[in-house]
């Protein structure tokens, strides 16, 4: 700027320097793959006009671990550890979904008690997944306190998992034909304590966010999608329910005794971030109610099916009878052949319809296993949802979609 221009600005008038060319340029902003606000590694290259987003281009695959190829080399019970690592915030749901697929192929009927225990574990996993999503949505809008308070209850859920299967996060829970162990007394005590102590904390969390002026201003009307576009983009789960379509696999194709439980499906109206947050909160309440019903009506009986070809016989039998010893040997050495067939089974995962398409050719490993991963399918819609908004809205939209990188890339 020249002396004359500086003099003018000192008097308070705004000066435009005639010698400089002002050009309205679009900027390219690289959001990712490592970014504090993206929950996982995926990249968005945003074209922006000032602060407004015009277009977005996505790159995924930064954590592609070739699950489907690995699954062609592993016997059925070893694939459970792969399914853990897809949506790792709610591993039991993936595990149970895979076991149910294999049981459908093999024709194994699981007893009621095992089904109820599976329901309890899956609903706890759903609560854990929604705790992470809603807590982190709070953090992305700047409210760190809600996350700290509610994350402690995720640790309590981890304690229940440890009672059931020994691991915290990647659980490998359950077996083909039931569960590996029954609910211990300690597990029952912990679940009952969780059901008593979590609702007040959840109410506090809701009081902090639901009618909070700042939170509402940041999330209402942000990242909305209509029901028709959502269905065309293959949305399922809480994101579709927030857009107004009440599709829940637990109700439409019930599995594992979900038809015995009474629960509502929360549905939103506008499909924006606030609706997704509220739908997930309400789903936590519904999951708590399902767990209560399951604990109250838990039937007696065995926790595994009477299918010695697929489920390890109890150790006392293995030491005493010849058939049990042979079955034990065959199962552990992985020499059990599955029947020929193709099956598609879907469960309601934390993010939507998690499907398993299994083609078996009669060997001990699948011929082809394809995972229908909800995150991969609905993440395509992200550029459309954040075009026309600002960067902060784009971050909040991504956070509310609950994209988990393990499920995105598999």
């Amino acid at each position: 700027m020249t002396e004359a221009n500086i003099a003018k600005t000192n008097s308070g008038t705004l000066v435009k320097d005639e010698s400089v060319q002002y050009v309205n340029e679009l900027t390219t902003l690289n959001l990712g793959p490592t970014h504090p606000a993206t929950h996982g590694i995926f990249q968005n290259v945003l074209t922006m006009d000032g602060e407004k987003i015009i277009a977005g281009e996505q790159t995924v695959g930064y954590i592609h671990r070739a699950f489907e190829k690995i699954a062609e080399r592993r016997p059925f019970y070893q694939i459970t550890t792969l399914t853990d690592r897809m949506n790792y915030c709610s591993s039991p749901i993936n595990n149970m979904g895979w076991h149910m697929t294999v049981e459908k192929l093999l024709g194994v009927e699981v007893p009621k008690r095992a089904q109820y225990i599976r329901v309890i574990m899956m609903e706890l996993a759903r609560i854990a997944d929604h705790i992470v999503c809603n807590g982190i949505l709070g953090v992305d809008t700047g409210a760190f306190t809600g996350f700290l308070y509610i994350y402690e209850y995720r640790e309590k859920i981890y304690e229940i998992y440890e009672e059931m299967c020994g691991a915290r996060l990647t659980t490998n829970m359950g077996r083909v034909g039931g569960m590996e162990r029954d609910l211990s007394k300690e597990a029952i005590r912990k679940i009952n304590e969780f059901l008593k102590t979590f609702p007040p904390i959840l109410k506090e969390f809701e009081r902090l966010f639901n009618r909070n002026r700042i939170f509402m201003d940041r999330t209402i009307g942000v990242g909305g999608i209509s029901a028709e576009r959502a269905m065309s983009y293959g949305f399922t789960g809480p994101n579709l329910r927030a857009a107004g379509v009440d599709y829940d696999v637990r109700v439409m194709n019930p599995y594992s005794s979900y038809e015995d439980f009474k629960f509502d499906i929360p549905v939103g109206q506008h499909g924006d971030t606030y609706d997704r947050f509220m739908v997930r909160n309400e789903e936590i309440w519904q999951s708590l109610s399902i767990i209560e019903q399951a604990m109250k009506n838990l039937p007696e009986g065995p926790h595994f099916a009477d299918a010695p070809e697929y489920y390890l016989p109890p150790k006392q039998e293995v030491y005493r009878s010849m058939e049990a010893l042979i079955y034990h040997f065959k199962i552990v050495m992985g020499e059990i052949d599955a029947p020929v067939g193709e099956v598609y089974h879907a469960v309601e995962g934390g993010n939507g319809e998690l499907g398993f398409y299994l083609i078996s050719d009669g060997g001990r490993t699948p011929y082809r296993l394809h995972f229908r991963r909800p995150c991969f399918i609905y993440y395509q819609a992200y550029p459309e949802m954040c075009v026309g908004s600002t960067i902060s809205d784009a971050i909040v939209t991504m956070s509310s979609l609950n994209v988990i990188a393990g499920e995105l890339d598999a």
Partner: protein, 181 residues
């Protein structure tokens, strides 16, 4: 006033009225090891266990890592938690190159240490293929206590590191073997 607050022991030195003389690297080591700022490079499941480590039960902030820095320029240690695919390896190397000396790297989890259960065409078999690593924390995923143990090992290294190490020929040779200038 609380009297049971644990204060760090002073290093050995010569003390008098109003002054304390010790060697420079002891003081610098003391200061550095109690304020390591991590850069969480969380890619998958180990990242969630890392989040548990930062949350209230297994608080990482009490070890001085109050501020997880997401900018490499301002971070001391790079915590790689999760699988690194071959597509991601150049990004990891970029982030490592942007960090200022002294920097430490922790490989959290089996996937970061050696590829883990994913011995496939698309997964890098351990981040020490592309960057030098100081501490490996095995586990799939490791418990938060194990991650804290790994960070405490880095604190040991930091406490006892000589100030000349980053300029020494040995360290330069190590970086050269990874094609890092």
């Amino acid at each position: 006033m609380a009297t049971d607050i644990k204060i760090v022991e002073a290093p050995e030195g010569y003390e008098g009225s109003g002054f304390f003389a010790t060697s420079f690297d002891k003081v610098v080591g003391l200061a550095r090891s109690h304020s390591l700022w991590p850069l969480p490079f969380a890619t998958s499941c180990c990242g969630i266990e890392f989040m548990s480590t930062m949350a209230s039960r297994y608080d990482l902030a009490r070890f001085g890592s109050e501020r997880p820095s997401f900018s490499p320029r301002q971070a001391d240690m790079l915590l790689v938690a999760g699988t690194i695919a071959k597509k991601m390896a150049p990004v990891l190397k970029q982030v490592y190159l942007q960090m200022a000396e002294p920097r430490w790297v922790i490989a959290i989890g089996a996937c970061a240490s050696s590829g883990g259960i994913f011995d496939t065409y698309s997964v890098l078999q351990g981040i020490d293929r592309v960057i030098p690593v100081d501490v490996y924390v095995p586990g799939c995923p490791p418990r938060p206590e194990q991650i804290l143990e790994g960070i405490m090992q880095v604190r040991e290294l930091t406490h006892n590191e000589s100030l000349r190490r980053r300029n020494s020929a040995e360290y330069q040779a190590l970086l050269a073997s990874y094609n890092i200038q």
